[in-house]
Symmetry: C2
Subunit: 428 residues, 2 copies
């Protein structure tokens, strides 16, 4: 059976950007290969809910090959891309022969960056993958377990100090939820400690929380957090993180539970494209999201530095990646690669962040919301976006359950006690 | 506020045995301390469903301190017990000072045993904990991913050979479900391999499957499994397990995916009790489940060798542990420790095993069932037992979804591709 030899489109990364390219090209006349390091697409905006034991990993992740199962033209490979050879037009994989492409979409996302202080990572894990989320979840839960085991009050308190570094949406959401866990979910679960003695700190280098949102929403977020018992430290930089805790300026906050939500660094694979890059390791893209001199290569999502009119790059959020994925799919699907096209333009429908169990701040379609109404809007929008997952109903059930009872449904610690000895030693 | 100094009851292990002691003594006049290595009670009979991606860990596990939250007299500690000092009447913990007891219940369960061949473990993980289940789940899913990446047919087949060692209920259930995954859940998910080419083998040293159940049920299980494409090898011993595969007698089955469901070994902590032990490391208990010369120490569940009239010990199954836990709680609650009491007697309500998606064999209240009716019975009984978990509704939804669609809801691989290089190398 002789098949027509079709051009091959390789998509690296099955996040919001890459997946949306593939989804829109279900019937396109290409051999499409989607390569991802993991086997799942992740609904990253809700990752902090896995990290804080409200949702299970299965609620916000779905196997890529299951999502693309009906796409006859699409092959899914679980592999790590080592580098791109732009001259030979092939990608090098760690457990497979090089794979040639005619067109390439690079949607490799970002990891957290420690601004050169990589030694901080072991004390302050970041939140990008399911594995990250489960690590943070276990650290939080294990901390309370350790505190319950302490015979000294001050040692117990060290286990109950939580520091979130970074005052963007992720940091604000994490700080709020940890405070809720201490004040509600854990209540009455312990006999020797009072979980309400937990102290949550959020540290932001800019002079207010949510620096990318309008000032009044940042202020509102701060007062909402303070009502939950969170101490916000703004306008101060973290100078050191070690086994003892966090040094903010001259002040030492003793803690064994530090979460990094501050900086991003794009994937190292991007360096092999030979294109211009910014300080965060993102590739500076052309108005049509391709790279200079290589109209056959597109870079989208958190991997791309896409200039706006005022010169600032677009933010690394899901809606940008989704719209860019659809834009590139249109160019490819309509055979406009290398041709003059209308530049990519981001439609900003708003940003939002939840605070604790039932509050949020939001800027949607130009209007600003806060409080319970904003939280409802936030919940609706996130449920709508969860269409790819059969678990929408489950997430709704979990949220309703959590809202009504203040409990959290996913409080499992996978690690057994003996594996925890390292952490225990750090604090003693 | 001077409190009356109460006697302290320490319970080691929060499985079916230990938890049932604690549950029945909610209002007893004791200081109760429950110590477990993990933070959760696990519904172990459904663990193979987590291992085979039908259920999420959260569906079958619940935090111990949440279950016992309303018990004013009960403290829960997450810690590893190193040894028991029966003379000083205290237990030694790895991250806490020794803990004195007046009464002790040891319900430490069992791990799998490799009959002295511990080097087999890395090639053939067993299934006892949530961590085990997630490891096996990831191995199964990653195997198909590796097969899809293979350019050679024979190499791909190695990744698609699955060997289950042990033909008891767990082995039979695992083999059936893996065959279902290959024949249904994975169908159309891959483009280069046909998941139906997967071969599943089950190896049992006795001359038939399910040797502890009546012969006709073992035969029925074997024919049901064979209809699903499983090859049953009975009456043969495994002589070697290594990176290439399994040697059964003289026959080599090439496989990178081997699961151990054969032997059990009780916890090493039991050795420190100084009591008589059997070959599997279980403590031989008195008729009232205490140990000789120490009426204050009880051993129950998989940790106990409890003789029956015909001389054989009771099997290591949940109903035995539950009934023993309740029996010991009664002795303690009614202040009968050290006194003459009616010996423990096990009420055997039956045994069962599921085969694939909608079949089972069961012996319940003396009657033998097989086929769909047995499967319904199995489902009902397991749902009834899940009372401790709020997730009963979720499990039901997952089962219905799985039954109707043949899909599996929990197909996540936590590990990213690069971490897989070891396994990949083994097979190349």
């Amino acid at each position: 059976m002789a098949k027509k030899l079709r051009k091959r489109l390789v998509i690296i990364g099955a996040g919001f950007g890459g997946l949306n390219v593939a989804l829109r090209l279900a019937r396109a006349d290409y051999d499409i290969v989607v390569v991802d390091r993991t086997n799942h697409h992740l609904f990253q905006p809700l990752l902090y809910q896995v990290a804080t034991a409200a949702l299970a990993p299965e609620d916000i992740a779905s196997p890529v090959r299951k999502i693309l199962r009906e796409h006859e033209n699409t092959l899914v490979l679980m592999s790590e891309v080592l580098r791109v050879d732009v001259e030979a037009r092939e990608i090098h994989l760690h457990n497979h022969a090089p794979l040639a492409y005619d067109l390439l979409v690079v949607a490799t996302g970002a990891r957290h960056s420690y601004f050169g202080k990589n030694e901080w990572e072991k004390f302050a894990p970041g939140l990008k993958t399911l594995d990250d989320a489960l690590t943070i979840r276990e650290n939080i839960l294990v901390s309370f377990e350790h505190a319950e085991l302490c015979d000294s009050h001050s040692q117990a308190q060290t286990f109950m100090n939580f520091v979130v570094i970074g005052g963007g949406p992720t940091g604000v959401e994490l700080a709020g939820v940890i405070a809720e866990i201490a004040n509600h979910a854990m209540l009455k679960n312990f006999k020797r400690i009072d979980s309400r003695n937990a102290r949550v700190y959020i540290v932001e280098g800019a002079d207010r929380l949510l620096p990318t949102m309008p000032p009044e929403l940042g202020k509102r977020a701060q007062s909402d957090l303070e009502r939950l018992g969170v101490e916000a430290i703004t306008g101060k930089m973290v100078t050191e993180i070690n086994a003892e805790g966090v040094l903010v300026g001259e002040r030492l906050i003793r803690s064994t539970n530090i979460i990094w939500a501050a900086g991003n660094q794009a994937s190292p694979v991007l360096r092999t494209l030979g294109a211009q890059m910014d300080r965060q390791g993102r590739v500076v893209v052309e108005p049509n999201l391709s790279i200079a001199n290589h109209p056959e290569i597109f870079v989208i999502g958190d991997a791309a530095h896409c200039k706006t009119k005022d010169g600032a790059p677009l933010p690394g959020v899901a809606p940008v990646a989704i719209q860019q994925g659809r834009y590139v799919a249109k160019i490819i699907g309509e055979n406009l690669v290398g041709k003059q096209t209308r530049p990519f333009k981001y439609r900003d429908n708003g940003t939002m962040a939840t605070i604790g169990r039932s509050r949020a701040v939001a800027q949607v379609f130009g209007m600003k919301y806060d409080g319970f109404l904003a939280w409802c809007t936030w919940s609706m929008i996130h449920l709508m976006y969860l269409t790819l997952y059969k678990n929408r109903a489950r997430v709704l059930i979990e949220w309703m359950y959590g809202y009504i009872t203040g409990q959290r449904g996913a409080r499992l610690i996978r690690r057994a006690s003996e594996e925890e000895s390292t952490k225990s030693r750090r604090a003693s």
